[in-house]
Symmetry: C2
Subunit: 351 residues, 2 copies
Amino acid sequence: MEDLPRTVKPRSQPTLQDVARAAGLSPATISLALNRRPEECTLTDATRRRAIAAARKLGYRPNFRARALASRRNFTVGFVFAREAPILSGVNEHIVVALTDALHQHNYHQLMVPLIGDPARWSEVIRPDRLDGCIMLSPLPEQLEQLQAETGLPMVAINERADLPISVVAPDEQMGTKLLMDHLLQLGHRDIVYVHAAANVHYSVQQRADGYAAAMRAAGLGDRIRIASHATAAEFVDRYLQEPHKPTAIVAYDHILAIGLLHDLAARGVRVPQDVSVATFNDVFPVAMTIPPLTTVAVPAAAMGRAAAELLVQLINKSKGKAPSSVEHPHTQLLPETLVVRRSTAAPRRG
Amino acid sequence: MEDLPRTVKPRSQPTLQDVARAAGLSPATISLALNRRPEECTLTDATRRRAIAAARKLGYRPNFRARALASRRNFTVGFVFAREAPILSGVNEHIVVALTDALHQHNYHQLMVPLIGDPARWSEVIRPDRLDGCIMLSPLPEQLEQLQAETGLPMVAINERADLPISVVAPDEQMGTKLLMDHLLQLGHRDIVYVHAAANVHYSVQQRADGYAAAMRAAGLGDRIRIASHATAAEFVDRYLQEPHKPTAIVAYDHILAIGLLHDLAARGVRVPQDVSVATFNDVFPVAMTIPPLTTVAVPAAAMGRAAAELLVQLINKSKGKAPSSVEHPHTQLLPETLVVRRSTAAPRRG
DNA sequence: GTGAAAGCGCTAACAC
DNA sequence: GTGTTAGCGCTTTCAC
């Protein structure tokens, strides 16, 4: 058992040991110098410098795996989404970008965690020895709440209902709907219908419906509230055409449905906005270049991404050292929506 | 230094040690029983069973961090993408889903690695102690090639030019373009123009242009080749309107440009396909419900995602144990595109 | 202020 | 066939 009988290491990365030797200090000291901020460690300024200089000279980079094991941290959060969720397009794309930026600032990275296969197996990734926390994109299967309870992992859901036992960052749908309805009412519309795809069960379908109904009632139009649910845009348009007393404006649940409506209305010779106005939600490609460009409520995607990241980092820091069971009270953060008026809405025709 | 003087562990996950004790075996044996497949280890069937039973009984899950450190693997690959404007936005979404599924089958997860900030800092994540390999979405900054050379990390690029020193999975643009051009030529078009956004420098802009030109020449229309490049769709349409001898068909580089063209043509009273046919690439939302729905070449997104995953896993397995410098010869895989005919293309008007 | 020593929980040679 | 031993490379008490 001599001290260093092994052959020279095959040109791998320098380790803390190497730096320590080069600096004439101990690994522990180098570790402190590199990781602790000056004010929170007791090292001489001179030693700190010496350690840092040696590290830089050798091009030292701490080994990720070793650091994780020793410090019991992962420097990684889960980015959890339903498999079908378009994470690189639509609103989510903008959320992801902002989220990522913000997490990076805190030195966290994101592991992609699509919810596929057997829910029982999700816990193979969503666990404290793999992740420090989770950001979750709506829609969110119920099993996740349970996982949160079991693992005690800090979690923040994006775009979810506020009554979950999990912290949530979401758009203020009530506000957005009000902006949109005010716009239509001001244009002079009185017969306004809200429509959504029947298959869509996201909580915001109902929220927007509620906002619509509230605005109608507030305008004294409670008796004209009409909430339509159809399998396809075409089905809605067919119904629309048969109506004797047609609505003058349509509020579509989202841009996907609205784009379908534009297509099917045009196919049947109904002009937008001359014959009927169409407005919707989600200010994303390609609503600015549809025919005609769509008036939409913009979800504050970037702000939501940023807020979720900050909230999660806070939760992680708070949970340090604490027992996993001591879950924080869930926070909820509603972010303001804004209205973007384009050419799909106009005053209704006289008569 | 007694053997177990410490207080009982505070109810954390059971470790290999715990399982070993419970089974009356050694940790090493448990590890073998759990990780090696029966045929590749020398354990008695009885011991294997005993080990597995004990593990199951205790609800044992290997600690991710410890496993990574000891085995020098990360079970993680990087999913690298340029932060700004995914050039094939819609397509990437489909790629990701297939990619993720395939990687999961090999027990790999993906870390999101957006290329933001200082390129020098990318190496903080793209390194062998953090990732086992990388999948990279086009467009790909040059610095990545260098990183690949330095780190020796297995890497597969998706949607990149085939002449890189990196393995590539890409659509067969030549084939796709030919399908599209054959369709237009068969409809009777002779004056066909190819148009792309001037700001777009992705290699496929040129590839599609080349395919277009080749098809024109093959049809004896070499003298009518017209490749247009404009800042916006509107600019192109303005030019178009002033031309005495207008093309009867437009091949747009991608769906984004094509949707812009539909909008601007409609705004100026040009009817598609009666006055001019429009065809493009990327069969993604919302090309099926534009006005009119677009004839497009579909990029084989799912196949590309799957192929990239398989290729990367192969490269990782091959590189096990080898020196990081012994980079494999890059592979290239071209996947077939297909044509989806919709209503934006029709025979040109007589005269 | 700094260093020594003891792990973190697993894997992989190599004895037995 | 199975157990023993020695790390993986770092962090973190705790002496000095």
